[in-house]
């Protein structure tokens, strides 16, 4: 790793020196829509090169260094038709090029910079990708990142654990089969591998890309079921401030026999951000506080967070520094009250109340990260980037019986070279290293290291786009012997419609994914459901082969566009909790590699714009899972609903807009540890209504989530959110 750092540091001046040899040209201008409004976050770049940038909140962009001569510059943004323009650049001079984008609700997500791994411009990925833009986050008036991602087709959250096409299931936060990247930096916890969705304020988010299917060939462990890449706002030129205030209240239980308090529960938050930037550098600081009474007994949550970001730009190099820190104190409604566990009022279960023995349970949690990234565009054909990061999570679970604590670190280092030998090909190679440690009374004191090298080539052959890559990961726990995992991948896209733009496309891919056991999974020693949980240091990495074939249609009758994909995953050595019977009468829980599993299904979405002001989306995922145990017993995987449906509609009229979202998930057929928990569970049917109105720099948003106050649970004995009404005001300067 030290060698890599030295190489990267050496490359930095080389890049700068290379740029100084010939005076560079600079392109600047604005991107607006046909009504003259600035288009934020539009990608401006030169196809087939390493040169691209994004517009700021005023629609301004600055693209440099560019070579002198004639160039084609392409601009793309979500919800607009992409456009291109030929410009002539003069060495040592700047050129202005303004763009006007035509709104197009059916336009495909541009996917121009899906991740920092393979920046692709104008080409679509060979795997399914869903994108949640800032505009969608705004209009949905959500307060956390997981709430924003939850609305995407094929995605489901189970009590904070994300599932992409049924990848993770639910294992009480002890792992995640989805990798979270924040600006390309891995952010899964070092000890438990889970995701802290409240690490960043939703105000920090510019977009969220969801890569579905195994992504380990580029991203390594945890990218078993997919990757969530969160892109934070860039720092625009000038002074910008933003204040966001939210207030709301929770609905009461729909049946008096379930009521548990006299006054409605309240929630509120305040967030502030300020930034200053110029062409060379910029900085932003933000902070916020959130309080919630919760929607059930013992459900208070207090959250405080700060974040900062800085950038420094020279002609061809950009350095980004970012960090965030958040503290939480939240009550833990561990499970609902079953008969005789509380004042149950004659009910077999009281979903809004907790077991008396769990009264007072709470968690104090702190987490933070710092990250540094550098990217140097040595030439239009060559760029390199490097990053270093440190994520720390610290929790203390306060329980009546005993308290537990854990401190986890994740140190990461990586470097990548990006080459574009010609306009039809891009090659990336890189190395990564991760060192994780944990100090905990339930996980023990341990370290885990991962070293990896990867490469991927994307080549356009006639109208085909072929991508092939592989990654090798070496894993070691507590300095022990190395375990090697190889993850190859092959992808193909074929246009099925040769229109100049927005034609249909067929895609197919096959790849291998894996996930290393987390230290929590290997070494956890605690008590759950009244049973001893014992460690299993011999856990092996999970692995899977994923196949996908999909098609995106061209616009049909000018009204709609359909995307559908068939997916198939064959997984081995899945890590799931199992009960151990120890003679004569002891039962224990242990995480074991016991499952050979199959997940297959259909993922489809439809986007329609029947009227200029009306847009609708429908997404449907059919999931068929099966697991094969050593004793040849089989059945569906736990916590995987067979049907998942999302539907949304938005109507805009001037400065006002209204919308609705509906989510349905069928009742899960199987749960873990059945017989030890209340097996009661129902389907999810949630309707959200929302409206917004803007006046000058202020926008008001009203959100009524779960407006029907449908009472449901997705995991045993854990009530999902009830009707919640929130009003948000955002002032932007």
């Amino acid at each position: 790793m030290r060698t890599l750092t030295v190489v990267l540091l050496l490359l930095l001046p080389v890049g700068v020196a290379a740029q100084r040899k010939t005076p560079a040209a600079m392109l600047r201008g604005t991107v607006r829509d046909t009504a003259g409004a600035a288009v934020r976050s539009a990608v401006v770049g030169v196809p087939g090169t390493t040169l691209y940038t994004q517009t700021d909140p005023n629609g301004r962009y600055r693209l440099a260094p560019l070579p002198a001569g004639d160039l084609t510059v392409r601009v793309a943004a979500i919800g607009f038709q992409p456009t291109a323009k030929a410009v002539t650049m003069t060495a040592g001079d700047s050129t202005v090029a303004d763009f006007a984008l035509v709104p197009s609700p059916l336009e495909l997500t541009p996917l121009d910079v899906v991740s920092t791994k393979v920046p692709r411009f104008g080409d679509r990925a060979a795997t399914s990708v869903a994108q949640v833009s800032e505009r969608e986050i705004d209009k949905r008036a959500v307060n956390t990142i997981d709430e924003a991602v939850d609305k995407a087709a094929g995605i489901q959250f189970l009590n904070g654990q994300i599932n992409i096409r049924g990848s993770t299931g639910y294992v009480q936060g002890l792992n995640s089969r989805v990798l979270l990247l924040v600006d390309g930096v891995p952010m899964n916890q070092g000890d438990r591998g889970g995701i802290n969705w409240d690490l960043l304020s939703v105000d920090e988010i510019e977009s969220v890309e969801i890569l579905k299917g195994a992504g380990s060939s580029l991203y390594g462990s945890s990218a078993f079921g997919g990757v969530i890449n969160v892109t934070t706002h860039d720092i625009p030129n000038g002074i910008h401030t933003r204040l966001r205030l939210t207030g709301g209240l929770y609905g009461d239980p729909p049946h008096p026999v379930w009521s548990f308090r006299d006054n409605p529960g309240l929630l509120g938050s305040a967030d502030f951000a300020a930034s200053y930037g110029n062409d060379e550098m910029g900085a932003r600081v933000s902070g916020g506080d959130r309080h919630s009474d919760g929607y059930r007994q013992q459900d208070r949550d207090d959250h405080l967070h700060f974040a900062a970001k800085g950038r420094w730009t020279t002609n061809n190099t950009r350095v980004d520094l970012s960090g965030s820190w958040a503290a939480d104190r939240y009550d833990v409604p561990l499970s609902w009250c079953s008969r005789s566990e509380c004042d149950d009022r004659g009910q077999l279960f009281q979903p809004f109340m907790v077991d008396t023995t769990e009264r007072g349970a709470r968690t104090d949690s702190r987490k933070g990260y710092v990250a540094a990234q550098v990217r140097t565009t040595v030439s239009p054909q060559f760029a390199w980037s490097g990053r270093a990061s440190w994520l720390r999570t610290d929790f203390t679970d306060v329980r009546r019986s005993a308290s537990e604590f854990g401190i986890g670190d994740r140190f990461g280092l990586g470097g990548q070279l990006e080459a574009r030998p010609d306009t039809t090909r891009v090659v990336v190679v890189g190395v990564e290293g991760t060192l994780s440690d944990v100090s905990s009374d339930i996980f023990g004191d341990h370290t885990q290291s991962e070293f990896a090298a990867y490469g991927q080539s994307e080549q356009r052959v006639a109208s085909l786009h072929v991508s092939a890559g592989a990654r090798v990961d070496f894993l070691a726990v507590d300095g022990g012997s190395l375990t090697a995992v190889v993850s190859p991948r092959l992808g193909l896209t074929v246009p099925t419609d040769h229109r100049e733009r927005d034609g249909g496309q067929l895609r197919a891919s096959v790849g291998r994914g894996f996930r290393a056991p987390t230290m929590a999974e290997r070494f956890v020693r605690t008590v759950a459901l009244g049973l001893d949980v014992v460690p299993n240091p011999t856990l092996r990495p999970e692995n899977a082969w994923s196949f996908e074939i999909g098609h995106t249609s061209a616009p049909l009758w000018g009204l709609m566009r359909v995307d559908a994909a068939l997916f198939w995953t064959e997984a081995r050595d899945l890590i799931e909790p199992q009960t151990l019977f120890v003679p004569p009468d002891t039962v224990r829980i242990q995480l074991q590699n016991v499952v050979r599993a199959r997940l297959r299904g259909l993922d489809a979405s439809l986007t329609a714009a029947p009227l200029r002001r009306l847009s609708t989306t429908v997404g449907y995922t059919y999931l068929d899972t099966r697991r094969q145990l050593a004793d040849s017993a089989s059945g569906p995987l736990a916590f995987r609903p067979r049907h998942l449906l999302t539907a949304g509609a938005d109507y805009t009229l001037g400065s006002a807009a209204v919308g609705a979202d509906f989510r349905f998930a069928s009742r899960v057929e199987k749960i873990e540890l059945e017989g030890f928990v209340d097996p009661r569970r129902v389907a999810m049917k949630v309707l959200d209504l929302r409206g917004s109105w803007s006046s000058g720099p202020v926008v008001f948003r009203l959100l009524a989530s779960n407006v029907l106050n449908y009472i449901y649970n997705l995991v045993p004995e854990t009530l999902a959110p009830v009707r919640t009404l929130t009003l948000t005001a955002v002032w932007t300067h």
Partner: protein, 168 residues
């Protein structure tokens, strides 16, 4: 615009209605008798043995009636440590003039009028139209009479003699 909006509403209507978690029915499945909730107030007396619910076809007049005409003759205890408890009591179809919750002190019952020394009237079902009066309950053939709710105040337990005449 009508078509997609109608489609959206239809979609919500098709899959979005009903089916969520519901409270468990108070009445036991297949019950023929009375059922409802007991609302407890006051401090539980230290000598408490149990609390049960009984019913009388006609309002009892004597301590003997209290014991001999009680239905069921051997009533089961109901939970009394929570603020509210559900109860179900199996009865023969008919009309009942008094449904009463009884507190029992620690001690052995003899199924005679002497038992009233160990028993107290804790509360009874009241006429919804005139809460100063006992409510009459009709148990139909093969059915349960629900919502027969009773308030029990442990601080205001009343001896049998407040309601009936007990001989020497």
């Amino acid at each position: 615009m009508r078509l997609p909006l109608a489609g959206f509403i239809l979609l919500v209507a098709l899959v979005g209605c009903g089916g969520g978690l519901e409270p468990e029915p108070i009445c036991a499945p297949g019950l023929v008798g009375v059922c409802g909730t007991l609302h407890f107030r006051g401090a539980i007396p230290p000598q408490t043995d149990n609390v049960f619910v009984a019913a009388y076809v006609t309002f009892p007049r004597t301590c003997n009636d209290l014991i001999a005409n009680r239905q069921p003759f051997f009533p089961g205890s109901v939970p009394y440590t929570d603020s509210v408890a559900a109860y179900s009591v199996g009865l023969l179809p008919g009309r009942y003039e008094w449904v009463v919750a009884v507190w029992k002190k620690v001690g052995t019952l003899t199924a005679t009028a002497a038992d009233t020394a160990l028993l107290r009237v804790a509360g009874y079902y009241r006429n919804p139209g005139d809460t100063s009066q006992a409510g009459v309950v009709a148990v139909a053939n093969g059915a349960a009479a629900g919502n027969i709710d009773i308030v029990i105040d442990f601080d205001k337990l009343r001896p049998a003699t407040d309601f009936v005449t007990c001989g020497p």
